[in-house]
């Protein structure tokens, strides 16, 4: 069977081909992995100026209470995520995750409070399951609508200047603000967020206007198109989790070092503690710690240490202690960087452990994340 036959296209597919992208199958879509500049240059372009990413494969979902009240939809979603949604101010968004009964992570997502409803962005490979999950658990109280819109991410220190050409107000937004706006008469939704470790924006655009808006952004001399290859190396350097690699149903939020995303009000002693799937285990781990931990890893030398490499306590490979979940070369770090899980006994910054690469045990040091200095405008 021809694998490409069943692939879906985003509204920007024709533009990718026009720009000379190399296309690959990704989460059921035919997506650009790189453009003629190549992964290395695209990565550095995003850190130095601005990069435009097509993330239209991700799921954009409107969740609205049948009552029409924000309070009702917020409390409904809180039954599925260990995050403070009721306290989320209008025009603000925050990171969260759906958990399962065992405390594992079903997907990670961005949740925005807009007017009387929630606007949620979920991962491409999970979007159908996420919608079914919400239908099953809160579908009696809420209407859940998967939108057919394009989504682009404009990332980098010059992103604000590029987007300000179309909408001057963008400069006044702070990190995690969300606003309705018109970009050249196209009704869009803009958030100051992203997944590259840089300042930047995500822009939801009606599908039939996406190419027009993307082309206008790319007209700016500071903006270049960026593919999935650089998207992965940018988020790895930023220490951000990739669902399916660094987090999944076998990892809990505390093991994944995502406590920062669980506000006090949902924790033990909080006003709305618990009440989400897996709460017993997650609250226990928040109080007492987990037995293993997601950490940053810096390999010595130049050899990249890839995902699924085994981690050892000793240089002879006698005591296996964990596994790398994401790893590669960080163009801005100019060396290899990785993310993996180790027992808490080996999770302190500075601990030296070993990774198996082609039969050799290479020294790697547990390191603080992110590996670069983020430029978020808080």
């Amino acid at each position: 069977m021809d694998d490409t036959a069943a692939l879906k296209n985003t509204p920007l597919h024709a533009l990718h081909l026009l720009l000379g992208a190399r296309m690959v199958p990704f989460a059921g879509y035919d997506m650009p992995v790189q453009y003629p500049a190549g992964v290395l240059k695209e990565h550095l372009q995003t850190r130095a100026a601005a990069g435009l990413f097509d993330v239209s494969h991700m799921g954009q979902v409107i969740v609205k209470a049948k009552s029409g009240k924000y309070e009702d939809v917020a409390l409904a979603l809180e039954s599925l995520v260990p995050v403070d949604i009721l306290g989320l101010a209008e025009g603000r968004q925050r990171y969260g995750f759906f958990t399962d009964e065992n405390g594992g992570i079903l997907d990670d997502l961005m949740i925005a409070h807009l007017d009387d409803h929630l606007f949620v962005v979920v991962n491409a490979a999970c979007k159908e399951a996420d919608v079914a999950h919400m239908q099953k658990h809160i579908g009696d109280r809420c209407d859940i609508t998967l939108l057919d819109r394009a989504l682009v991410a404009l990332q980098g220190p010059r992103a604000v200047d590029v987007l300000a050409e179309l909408w001057a107000d963008v400069a006044a937004m702070k990190f995690m603000d969300v606003r309705h706006c018109r970009l050249h008469d196209v009704s869009c939704l803009v958030s100051r967020s992203g997944y590259s470790g840089e300042d930047g924006y995500e822009i939801s655009i009606p599908a039939d206007k996406a190419e027009d808006v993307a082309k206008r952004l790319l007209e700016h001399p500071d903006a270049q198109p960026i593919g999935l290859g650089a998207r992965d190396s940018l988020r790895l350097e930023a220490g951000l989790c990739l669902y399916g690699n660094d987090i999944d149903t076998t990892t809990t939020p505390v093991e994944a070092a995502l406590e920062w995303a669980m506000q006090k009000t949902r924790r033990t002693g909080g006003a709305r503690a618990g009440g989400f799937p897996g709460a017993e285990r997650i609250l226990r781990e928040l109080d007492n710690g987990a037995t293993r931990r997601r950490v940053g890893l810096k390999p010595e030398g130049k050899a990249p240490v890839r995902g699924h490499s085994k981690l050892y306590a000793d240089a002879e490979g006698r005591t296996e202690i964990g596994e790398v979940t994401s790893g590669g070369f960080g163009p801005s770090v100019d060396g290899p960087v990785a993310i993996g899980y180790v027992p808490v006994s080996h999770a302190s910054v500075g601990t030296q452990i070993y990774a198996e690469v082609r039969g050799k045990y290479l020294p790697v040091t547990v390191s603080a994340m992110p590996f670069i200095t983020p430029t978020y405008k808080r």
Binding site: G38, F329, R358
Partner: protein, 120 residues
């Protein structure tokens, strides 16, 4: 005269010694190289053994030994600067020199025309 393998190595054979590298086509497929691991001088390999490793930002790939032989020299310049392989794969970006066990075996490899057809 240059010879080629179906696994995208090139060989330039002079006096029973082959200079080996990876082809323009292979480099285009791999993208920007960030790490190269070369064999040790004096090591012996059989045809299709893993002789070297190249890594792009995204993934690792093996470079196979194209024929039976012994490594007599390696190109340390590409371990110091893997981008040399991207900029000049069939010149300054060579990998290693291999003293062939049976130089006549090279007759079984592809010539330039056949390799071009393979990658067309």
């Amino acid at each position: 005269m240059l010879k080629f393998t179906e696994e995208h190595e090139w060989l330039k054979i002079e006096g029973g010694v082959a200079t080996v590298g990876i082809t323009n086509y292979a480099v285009e497929q791999l993208g920007d190289l960030v790490f190269v691991e070369l064999p040790e001088v004096g090591a012996s390999f059989s045809k299709n053994d893993d002789a070297a490793t190249v890594e792009s930002v995204k993934a690792a790939s093996e470079v196979y030994c194209p024929l039976d032989g012994e490594i007599t020299e390696v190109n340390e310049a590409i371990t110091a600067d893997p981008s040399l392989v991207n900029s000049d794969p069939q010149g300054a970006g060579w990998f290693f020199k291999l003293k062939l066990k049976n130089p006549a075996d090279a007759d079984g490899l592809l010539d330039e025309a056949a390799y071009k057809e393979l990658t067309a």
